[in-house]
Symmetry: C2
Subunit: 219 residues, 2 copies
């Protein structure tokens, strides 16, 4: 496939262009912090948007799901997809309703997914997805059997056509509105882990692993 120069007409951020970025490192930070992506594809002219887990390794995104899934079988055909990851960082309160906003970081990747057939590559992609979600987990689990591996479809999407968009910082009001008595500022939002809950069939003497106890998304 020929090299794509970002942004393309399809990924260029038109509204609030100063919020757009086409820098791989910045976009990869967003992808690496996210846990869920929203996958868009078209079937019979209807767009569908489905939440999925994913992983990234180098310039590729990996998706997995049941080999029997409608969506996976659709994506398998190499149809155009859009994968979007959004991180919500806060609510922005301005004096005017018009200038209210949210602080966020989002990444959009366009392309066509490729089905991974080779069992070794498939296993490695599953490891990437697992390590993306919980670094350190893979070494502790019972790995997939041949049957489980066959029941799983794994797709690779080369990250070629992409963009990021972000807003941060305080509200920006019209100059004349600053004198209004309305409270203005930012309410930060973060995805926070709670207390780990042991499975009821777990030996109560078993310790919660550090990668669960100290789980954080930000690197």
């Amino acid at each position: 496939m020929s090299e794509i120069t970002n942004p393309t007409a399809r990924t260029r951020v038109v509204r609030e262009p100063h919020r757009g970025t086409y820098d791989r490192e910045t976009v990869y930070q967003i992808l690496d912090e996210g846990l869920v992506c929203h996958v868009g594809f078209v079937s019979d002219g209807q767009p569908f948007v489905i939440p999925m887990n994913y992983g990234r390794s180098g310039d590729n995104l990996y998706l997995h799901g049941s080999a029997a899934s409608r969506m996976l079988r659709c994506l398998d055909q190499g149809v155009p997809v859009c994968i979007t990851v959004t991180l919500l960082d806060g609510l922005v309160f301005a004096r005017s309703i018009f200038n209210h906003s949210m602080n966020y970081r989002s990444a959009v990747v366009l392309g066509r997914a490729v089905h991974i057939d080779d069992p070794a590559e498939k296993l490695e992609a599953l490891r990437m997805i697992s390590e993306h979600i919980v670094p350190g987990r893979w070494k502790d689990v019972r790995l997939p059997t041949e049957t489980e591996l066959k029941a799983t479809s794994v797709l690779r999407l080369p990250i070629q056509e992409f963009s990021g968009k972000a807003r941060k910082g305080p509200p920006v009001d019209d100059e004349k509105d600053y004198s209004l008595p309305t409270w203005a500022g930012v309410l930060p939002l973060t995805l926070q882990p709670g207390e780990p809950v042991n499975d009821s069939r777990l030996d109560p003497a078993r310790a919660v692993p550090d990668y669960v106890k100290n789980y954080r998304r930000k690197k």
Copy 2:
């Protein structure tokens, strides 16, 4: 438009059908807790998935954005859209990697958006979006001017064809795997508000309103 009986072939949950729901109240709870939806639409055969704010009133979803936005102008044409809201509730750790999962609740709404022209209906829709994000805020803000209202596009999507999907609870392992020494359980995740940050140009004597101080998503 004729009444749609849910699920349709397009919204029926095929994989893990016990996780699917077509009950309006359940799906509305998911929509009402979410802050960001992912809007899917097709342009020149390419699906796009864009994060947006939204609001719900009765059996309608409301979206808003700049009247100059490419996306809004595309949706304005009444093209098919898919709106997905996903709430991530936790990471599910099984003994086998194959049985790892996430606890989540998601809602998918398919349809065609209608442009709202009437200024009074538009203002009311904006109020719905504002009250969806921060109940109580609308009464404190400087409301939109005529010019600001003209610069804003507001769309209404009737909630007719929809489904929800959810997973909750502990991991489910294969019987033979329960004897493995691997830690298993759930790490809950929630979107947590932090400490409100006053805008630097705010009178420091001004108190943070209760709807910011006590902000919570769950009803």
